[in-house]
């Protein structure tokens, strides 16, 4: 196989990890919404934790993105 084509396929495969990240971020915000809906007073406390969880999950997406960028542009 042509090395360029293999690189493209590899970069595409690297971002399959985004599947899990999408589920994870959706889960975090779904839980955040239901938590705030059940107890609106807890919004201040819950929001910070949700943002922390969002950033930690999103970092996984960026690891995958980074790998695919490194494959594509190196």
């Amino acid at each position: 196989m042509d090395i360029g084509a293999a690189k493209m396929i590899g970069a595409g495969l690297a971002v399959v990890a985004l599947l899990g990240v999408g589920i994870g971020i959706g889960n975090i915000f779904a839980t955040l919404i239901s938590a705030i809906a059940r107890n609106p007073e807890a919004k201040k406390d819950v929001f910070g934790v949700a943002m922390l969880g969002f950033a930690l999950t999103e970092a996984v997406a960026l690891f995958a993105l980074l790998i695919s960028f490194l494959i594509l542009f190196n």
């Binding site: 943002m51 922390l52 969002f54 950033a55 930690l56 999103e58 970092a59 960026l62 690891f63 993105l65 980074l66 960028f69 542009f73 190196n74």
Partner: protein, 239 residues
């Protein structure tokens, strides 16, 4: 056209050597210096006047109050003495990320060696604090309380690996976020030319992404300091 990774190249601004050792002043060093100066400006402008606080003073005191509540929530009252550490880590990373958002500026937090050095400082510090506070009792950290004793060999190995991987995960998170974010912006801007007439749609997308990137810049500095606080609490309280 440059490749999207061109922005991370370190360039020498002027050469400088002491006794045969090369110590060039690079663009990375320049932005680190700028960031340190900005932090110093915040520190020296706070607590100046009570009647008529300036803009910078209010900003500095807001950040300080934010860090103070963060440390108190996560470590507790005993954590007061770690406020300067968390404050300087937070502001240094925040200004590094924000200065990187200026067009043609260099983002020094996208260098893994810098983020790894920062994370290593935190790691060495928490290990030292653990040993100073608890002596050899600190090793009980690696066995969670209430765990069945026959699980001990497995749990201890897992806990030691998770403890040792902290500086790595802490540094890679910040580095990957900044690097992937900035590369993504450049890749999207490249589409503007290749799409021709429809390029305006990517201009809108890039503008939205820049706003997102500002949020990430703040969020990553916040995550780094929150995790520092959590690690500190772990070794101070030992379970």
């Amino acid at each position: 056209m440059h490749s999207p990774l061109h922005q991370f190249e370190i360039e020498k601004i002027f050469n400088f050597s002491i006794a045969g050792v090369d110590l060039p002043f690079t663009n990375s060093a320049l932005y680190m210096l700028l960031s340190v100066l900005a932090v110093a400006l915040l520190v020296f402008s706070s607590g100046r006047s009570i009647e008529k606080p300036g803009v910078i003073q209010v900003f500095a005191e807001k950040i300080f109050g934010f860090i103070q509540s963060l440390v108190e929530e996560n470590i507790g009252q005993t954590g007061q003495k770690y406020i300067p550490l968390v404050f300087s880590l937070f502001t240094f990373i925040l200004f590094g990320n924000l200065f990187g958002m200026i067009p043609y500026a260099y983002t020094f937090t996208s260098q893994i060696i810098l983020t790894f050095a920062l994370a290593l400082v935190v790691f060495v510090l928490i290990t030292l604090i653990g040993f100073i506070k608890h002596g050899f009792h600190f090793f009980s950290y690696f066995l969670p309380p209430g765990a069945p004793i026959f699980m001990a060999p497995l749990l201890i190995v897992i806990e030691i690996i998770s403890f040792l991987s902290r500086p790595i995960s802490l540094s890679i998170r910040l580095f990957a976020n900044m690097m992937a974010g900035h590369t993504m912006l450049k890749v999207f801007s490249m589409f503007t030319i290749s799409l021709g007439v429809f390029g305006f749609s990517t201009i809108i997308a890039t503008s939205v992404l820049i706003g997102f990137e500002f949020m990430i810049a703040f969020l990553q500095a916040y995550v780094f300091s929150v995790l520092t606080c959590l690690y500190l609490r772990d070794v101070i309280e030992l379970h």
